[in-house]
Symmetry: D2
Subunit: 354 residues, 4 copies
């Protein structure tokens, strides 16, 4: 949709680091879909919906399934989603005797939402490491320069002297709280989705709850007593977290860009960006990009909240809106954290110029 | 700015219930400012910044202060905020001997942010009661109609039968989680702001921390080790919560408006709205309004995230943006919760038409 | 909903100038409703839907109608809008013989949308004058200081010298284009709304078009061949214009706030704002407020675009969303233009410090 | 950043048609950059900044330049943009005697903004054809079914009977106005950007204006008397248009999804989407997607308005925000227009069910 923001594009490295962007590649979804179906087949045997042999045969077959991606991609335009065609191909692929253990009681949204949970789990592990790393870098910065005086500024006017530590702590402290928030959010978003056609696990009769519990265990995801096909507030809450993080980094970026101004000179950066017309310039590129990324995520966030108006048992208009914005917010946040760390490492001096 | 949305306007009762709108009236701020200054004067005596007699005299004088609101309001245009003129008048009002205990170590943002904390505390108490009440109403609805069958619908098409309980639980369950979220957020937003001119409590020397601790106790607010003049993520996080609540209510409203369609007839409401051209109509006014309010809050939310890009020690552009949107979001959420409860009480039948 | 932003509030003069906020008061709507009904009664006589005597009697009676505002306000919560109760009261008020000429063929949305058209016409006349005035002030600024050198800055770094005129022209030129855009938009938004219950003027049979044409003439509004109850793009387009204006002013405000920094000193302002803690400060309050207002309007704008998804013949969820944001955007734009003019008049020096 | 929305992804065909997505590929930018530099070299000769032989030699060399894309892409992270490295490579590539005619008087933003102009020109031509085609399809629909009765619905309740033509005209009429708006916008956005380092064409002395005029002619773009590096309202205005279009299509999609409900049955569609759990379903996938796309573009729009707060002569934070959202909005609009046309062609019946 916007190739400029891919890390493979001429403009893209500013907007996307590969380790986050690739989380969202098609193969990651296919793997997650297959893992879901394998776990389902196995669990159906365990709880006795199908016999053990059928379950085992189905799980083995599914694990060897190689879908035709082009056909799935084309069918997504017709079905609105890739899973119906994925399921059709999968059912064609397995032996008919194994069919009772394939996709039984599941629906498209179960596979896709669970794939998101798995991908977000990976993203969250990266985020935790990034937050720790950035926190350390800022602590080191404070340790080195914290007592150096600089001018405190309010309403963009010189106010009273502060220390570098006063300023830097306003960059660092929110990150600590964001890490705590993330710890609380992870179980909410790293959850199994399993509700079936209309979200009530009815196709599995009395076995619904047991299957869901066992699948959550098998896939190492949180169990929910009720499928959340139409209750999307956990994802909106998570999107809010992403934008809180980039917002805090944007404040740091804005401060650094202001400190780097000639005439203010409160910070020195190595490796500033060049200009095609003015080779002498040392532009605070990463600092400014953090502001851009803060505003980008702030812009996206309401889409996740509009998506809460998710009519009936499954919305074909609210749900795809999440798909259009949440991955971009995740990638932006991961990229901003990388930029922030690189930016801090570029600092060679901070505090009053003289 | 938008008189239509005041409960006193011809259009306004749809948009604002008085108990929330009046939380934001000028007198509430003046009371909060006065309480702040009284507490500060007393605490300055307690910790020994001023002698006890001065503190007591100052506190007594401040508590009798009646500011000239018109002059303050006019000065806000010049100063950007009402507190500088409030402080000027206050200092004129008290006896000069008491001045060492007046506004000492405080800044405009300390008073205003703390006033917000106090107002939000009142709002949060109302929200808790509203959530409990609405949760009860929905539980009663489920108790009465929960086993009645109705059609499950996905992508706005009939899918498979569900029960009324399946549908209603998707309205009720998020509210429970929102109540839990609110409990976690309250200490974050019901906090004392006390940092002084540049946020580091420097004007009080070694007494800064002690004064802040004692003031938080006196005002029954959370103490923060570091003032958050320029770290605004708690308020953005809270705004997110407001929009999560209205988003969940918007889903309920959208469902009810769809259920009330002729030809669907899955719900009957008493007291529907009338039309000037078609007196026979029974419009699901409150259901539709919940959708409007969800989209309104979703729209406002990014402003609170843009405000995270809060440059230096105090931003004169980011901070007022909060003032322009957060009160509107609070009032909208309280009004939506009232509407939701009234809407549920209008339901006379739910489930399959026949 | 948000009392802080009313010009009567302690905080409000920063956010709302009276001449724009009062455009939206209840009495303005009542006057517009009455004028609509008077014109309708007269026109119904002219085109022969009712006889001349009935039309004249109805028009005279309507023009003397004094509605009970409290009852209307309370009914708006029930009906979703004030017009049904207004029409009930009006029909009670006029002699029964005049009833055939009262509200005939009209619906709530006709009265309300037309009231908006009338109010926007007044706003637009104010905007035109403001744009002219501000353009003159900026031209005068260029005339006085335009050749003074200053540093051109890109990516917040000194680049190459420019003149004050180079910078100021980037503030002035967009205003000229905004004035041209407004001239094109005025006929679109200053239009009669007249469509009746379902928007097709069916209640007036063959007379529908003639009535609409005559009413547009009588009320000095644009005639539309088709009522736009459910086609809202003109208002969304207008909201875009409002945000374009504040966006351009925000650029000017941001530039001025940056120029006013100590160490940069490229501008001197008289009458800067004070601080309660630091009386020595001269804060560029109006400059920063322009940035706030730009971000506020940018934030509101998507609500007007979400409202384009206006289902069927009249949406009870999309339409009220317009009511919640458009007046606020108009008031903000008018206030920003006033602030901008005052800000320019505060400039006592611009260009290189030495 | 969000691979899901690429047409090559498993999910992507719903979100991006290739003819729009590929407009934004790296090679399109390289071609535009090369064309800019060729035109500049030639024009520099024409106006006499360099001699004719140098101009011709430079133009010939530039036209044969094959940049190293990987190095450019990597350098974009450092410089914030790909052009500085592009220009470095280009200068290395041409013979040193031709250097006076290479990139003379130009800056990164000149090349990138002009590349956008060229790409938008292509997009706009596609849009014009799509709008014409869709308008025809809707006219044909009205011609075939326009007099069939159906229920007019207001506030999601049956109101009074209308015709299919009444409803369909609310889908068609805005498209006509959007086409007119586009005709007015095209010269604004299909414009040469040429301002040099700080936007005033100073590097070319008295030749600046002549070079700009001749380049605009050579590249078939609009000439602007003043470079718009820091005046971005034309692009924000264009983004508004994109969202107006998808908003109007979203209204159509919402109406069709509501008409397709069982129990309403006012429309029949061929080729509805399937479900992995409920093969019997015929989901109105494209109708719902139009709603999604309307809300997506509405969500993105404010970013383009925040980008109006473009500080000084070139903002490194505001400008990249445009790059992150405008291409996505263009692709979404083109895709929505394609979906809309396909959706209309799926209609096999419209109007009252019986």
């Amino acid at each position: 949709m916007n190739p400029l923001t891919s890390h493979t594009h001429l403009f893209g490295q500013l907007f996307a680091v590969p380790q986050f962007e690739t989380l969202w590649h098609s193969d990651r979804f296919i793997t997650a879909f297959v893992n879901f179906e394998v776990a389902l087949a196995q669990v159906l045997g365990t709880v006795g919906v199908v016999d053990a042999a059928t379950a085992t045969a189905a799980a083995r077959a599914i694990s060897e399934f190689q879908p035709d991606l082009d056909t799935i991609s084309a069918a997504a335009l017709h079905d609105g989603l890739p899973v119906p065609e994925f399921a059709r191909q999968l059912k064609d692929f397995v032996d008919s005797s194994a069919l009772p253990a394939v996709h039984k009681g599941a629906t498209s949204q179960d596979l896709i939402d669970t794939a998101f949970s798995v991908i977000l789990r990976d993203a969250n592990q990266l985020f935790e490491a990034q937050l720790t790393e950035l926190n350390t870098a800022l602590s080191d910065l404070e340790a080195k320069w914290g007592t150096v005086p600089m001018m405190g500024r309010t309403r963009m006017q010189a106010a009273l002297p502060i220390t570098v530590g006063d300023r830097v702590s306003t960059w660092r402290l929110p990150l600590k709280r964001h890490a705590e928030r993330l710890a609380g959010l992870r179980p909410q978003v790293e959850a199994l989705q399993f509700g079936g056609a209309v979200g009530n696990r009815a196709a599995l009769g009395d076995h619904g709850e047991a299957v869901a519990v066992a699948m959550a265990t098998a896939l190492n995801l949180t169990h929910r007593p009720r499928a959340s096909h139409a209750m999307r507030e956990n994802l909106a809450d998570y999107a809010n977290w992403l934008s809180l993080v980039t917002g805090s980094l944007g404040k740091m970026g804005q401060d650094i860009a202001l400190m780097a101004q000639q005439g203010i000179d409160e910070i020195a950066l190595s490796g500033g960006g060049g200009s095609s017309a003015m080779p002498h310039k040392q532009n605070p590129v990463l600092a400014e990009t953090l502001v851009t990324q803060a505003r980008f995520n702030a812009t996206q966030l309401p889409a996740m909240h509009h998506a809460l108006v998710h009519e009936q048992e499954r919305s074909g208009s609210a749900w795809p809106l999440e798909l259009m914005v949440l991955p971009a917010m995740v990638t932006t946040t991961g990229t901003a954290l990388t930029h922030a760390h690189n930016l801090i490492s570029q600092i060679t001096r901070v505090g009053a110029a003289d």
